[in-house]
Symmetry: C2
Subunit: 288 residues, 2 copies
């Protein structure tokens, strides 16, 4: 369930572009105006705005935004404006450049997107970076981590519900053996996690709940870590909110609240200014 809200009466795309141009005019930037538009349009509408803006203003909207905005607010607006595939490509590319802290970003993209979405992210990666995602992942990683990550980012999992119980039993046995031997880099263990369908892995893991099968638990944890950290982790906060606003953020929010304070209240406490406003808008606050 999405948290993104779109007004009942959406202004015409020309009007939206006109307003954005106005927001950039003169000294200072009208950030509230930017939020009121870009946090309250769905992906198709944002795409149209970007096309029309480029046609009428002769500049890429993202470039204009980049000139006007800074820091966390810039990042949340840019990521929130991109479409899903472009955002994933951007996040993945960024992650290949800053390994230590952002290995998890690639894991997230590889494990929580639908198969078709992962392929689309890889296509967007070609288009933007003139190389392949796996090329950068392979080049910038090594050892056991690469052994696991490469097959994950190149996977195209079958998404049907069919489950082979005999196979689930035999592969659960393999997993048990390898995990009790702490052989986490075992080739069969990696093969099972990287190639089986989620339904099949679910059958295999059975009593476990994991990131692969229940992403909302995982992302709720990521948000908790980002917010409870000494000095909020804005990178993670922005990533999770912009990526899921139009998809499942409602579920992640509910899960978050079950474990303590409501997410919106936590965001208000930890962030400020326009960055806070944009986050809250994406979380479903304010007039659409």
């Amino acid at each position: 369930m999405s948290t993104l809200t779109v007004p009942a009466q959406v202004p015409s795309v020309t009007e939206d572009c006109e307003q954005l141009r106005k927001a950039f005019e003169g000294r200072g930037t009208n950030k509230q105006l930017i939020i009121s538009i870009l946090a309250h349009r769905n992906a198709a509408q944002r795409k149209l705005i970007r096309q029309t803006y480029a046609d009428t203003c002769g500049e890429d909207l993202l470039k204009s935004l980049g000139k006007e905005l800074t820091n966390d607010f810039e990042r949340v607006v840019l990521l929130g404006t991109l479409d899903r595939a472009e955002r994933d490509a951007f996040l993945a590319n960024e992650a290949t450049k800053r390994w230590t802290s952002s290995n998890q970003v690639l894991m997230e993209i590889a494990c929580t997107r639908f198969s078709k979405q992962l392929i689309e992210a890889r296509q967007a990666y070609h288009a933007r970076y003139k190389k392949s995602l796996e090329e950068d992942v392979g080049y910038h990683t090594n050892g056991d981590f690469r052994k696991l990550l490469l097959p994950l980012v190149t996977a195209y999992r079958y998404e049907g519900d069919e489950v082979n119980i005999t196979l689930a039993k035999s592969e659960a046995k393999i997993l048990n053996e390898k995990i009790s031997d702490k052989a986490y880099n075992d080739e069969d263990l990696i093969r099972i996690l990287a190639t089986r369908s989620k339904a099949q892995i679910n059958a295999t893991l059975n009593q476990y709940k994991n990131c692969l099968v229940h992403p909302e638990h995982y992302f709720e944890k990521i948000l908790h870590l980002a917010i409870n950290k000494q000095g909020t982790d804005e990178g993670a906060l922005t990533r999770v909110v912009t990526t899921w606003a139009e998809v499942d953020l409602k579920v992640i929010k509910d899960e978050y609240q079950r474990n303590g304070v409501p997410l919106d209240r936590a965001v208000v406490k930890d962030t400020s200014g326009d960055y806070e406003k944009m986050l809250l808008a994406l979380l479903g606050h304010g007039d659409a």
Copy 2:
């Protein structure tokens, strides 16, 4: 360059279906009629024929063909009728079941298709087999071969012409080291072959010509082996002719002829009956 010929005046799809139905009627099958249609229609036309046939005859054309035909002729007609992605999925699935002799088929599919075609083959694999290609490849292989094959079949290579010469030099050095140490299963060697764009690999290999970059040399060799074998290898012959008829078979034929007799003459010498006729039709012989 394609060798497939289509008549200047193609009969209507209804007429083609009518003729096919006639070919199946009564005792015996009119194989020449089947060849005259299915070897002389392009992929879009064949697709339409299959749809119309299913609608009007209430049976999948491939199923009807399977009932009427046998052995090598059945196989060449079925593979020749499928579209590219379906044919690749079929060949790949077959290969996962008969390892020893057909490892090379998976290598071919992984290395000689365009990135988009490989993804389409993987999609067709989902649709037909209700599981993923990498799932079957991973499950049925092991050791060094799996280590190389899995990243190859899941690759989505960048296809632009951009080449990074500094990178090509440093990776050529890696390849030289690993190959002179006979470390063919080295992780970096595999990463380079499995993730870099073909243009980049070409720059890296530079003086070498290989299957990845010049598939026509490779397939010419496969045809030579298939034909010169004691007892022709019909499986390989059918696979190469049906896969490339509509793409590059002309180039492969020219290459073949440069190394000895013309391909058509070799086919006539080694095959017979309707199987021979269908192959020759796909090689550009006979009236379209």
